[in-house]
Symmetry: C2
Subunit: 326 residues, 2 copies
Amino acid sequence: MPPILASLAELKSFLQKAGTERTYVVTSTELAGILGWAIEELEVPQDRVILIPDQEKAKQWSEIETLLKAFREKDIDRSCAVLALGGGSVGDPAGFAASIYLRGVPYVQVPTTLLSQVDSAHGGKTGINFAGYKNQVGSNTHPIAIVLEPRFLSSLPEARITDGLGEIIKAGLISDPSILKALSRMERSALDFPLLIRKTVAVKRWYVKKDPEETGVRQMLNFGHTVGHAIEAKHHITHGTAVIIGMLAELKATVAMGYTKPEVHERLEALLAHLAIVPDTTLTPDTDAMQKDKKMHGGQISLPVVLKEGKSKVIRMPLTELTNRI
Amino acid sequence: MPPILASLAELKSFLQKAGTERTYVVTSTELAGILGWAIEELEVPQDRVILIPDQEKAKQWSEIETLLKAFREKDIDRSCAVLALGGGSVGDPAGFAASIYLRGVPYVQVPTTLLSQVDSAHGGKTGINFAGYKNQVGSNTHPIAIVLEPRFLSSLPEARITDGLGEIIKAGLISDPSILKALSRMERSALDFPLLIRKTVAVKRWYVKKDPEETGVRQMLNFGHTVGHAIEAKHHITHGTAVIIGMLAELKATVAMGYTKPEVHERLEALLAHLAIVPDTTLTPDTDAMQKDKKMHGGQISLPVVLKEGKSKVIRMPLTELTNRI
């Protein structure tokens, strides 16, 4: 598991110790402006900053080709480090390109959103969308380090905070109820990010370490994502918000199947209300996208099921068991 | 390390035991005709045969996109197996596409040339050419099995046999002199393929197992390849033949540097003559391609050096040390 670094200053000394000869930053056009201060602090010159499109536009096959061409033109080799500076829509494609260039050059995740700091920057998954499906192409390649710099969070809009809260709540539901308790005691305007990030990242890393190949327990991290991804694909809402709606829908279904205690769903609704999160539960998933879910295996789905807060397991069932109940 | 299977029949029972739900074959347009008997024996229906261009044309970025689209259209998922049926120009891109589709679907190397049976099918390297450079993009992803079916070798033209002999001789020079002795006792018209393949594959697997990340001894497998690749890039000759010329050139250089005993170069020339191999040593490498070699690391190259037959080590030196002597 890659080390977690607490600041840009720590990253600089980490790269020095690692003997990195040149450091490159991959970030989006928009972020390059907003995060100029970070690039400056890292002392990366402008000609080593590589820009990719904003948001999901970067996660396309043709954009990876463009990015790889930039790696080539800049003579990046294995003595270099590529920093992915941004949210998942930077980290996913930049990590993917780094993982396949020269069969892998070292890269560092520098997540700048709450969502990416607690989720996508960890676990080594990289990827792009393909033929209309999310994260259909990619690799499992860990970065050499992950930087959780708190200063990036101070300027995030509320909607981005909500995105991150989705994954934080998920970690609480599947594994660590103390996260839910902590959230219920915090005001939305005074969230204790360091505490929430520490606990959520600990949950994620436990699963990744326990099951690096994602053939067993790690699939629990997909709780809320089977429906969530299929809602995201259809309605183009953000990932975290889609996962929140996905968790509600999956809980409702597994309550109906008799796996989940009904109170779990009710308590989640109450927690969301407390956090001023108002998910649009009228949104329905794209069932075709669910058919193509990577967790599908011969018509059956491995569905992560929360039995009660902190207790969960993966249950295999025909996909229709789920789709009939949402 | 993936298991080695000795025939198509063994492959069929292996896939059955592995619980593979559907089997797909990726092969080239030309090979699909020549190897129809193998596809038939494997009982893979025509709509599960995916054709890619012949030779190096398949190893292009745009062709990987086409291949991934075929995977998508055919609903390939992780319960399936993708068989790469052909030489390295099938195995490299098919393995790469399989390794990134859904972040990895199981694939099997079914090498059909002597060169791929002793070399490219082993070690887990997949890849394509990019921006004019060989194998510039790819992954390190082992297949779930490697099939060494002797019947594929019976119809190979002599030039393809020479290609394979290059890598067989390399294994002898860097690690196992008994391969060289065996070759010196065989007539070109009566090569003992099973023996040569067994010994050569044992050498390759030893290095891969010892150094999976290719940060140390495994680099010895690149003997002859630093110059070989750069000749291949410029003169468009086949890989094995380029490696033979590369080995001669690198030996000549390291003899001049004082690392290699002069007899090693002379004995290699004699062995090549015995095997009726007449390499065109007037071909010079593309030195720009050598600059971009993946083994380059901050201006220095990790050069695999044969000290004497079976004794070798990797030596770091400025690239000019080598280029000045070839």
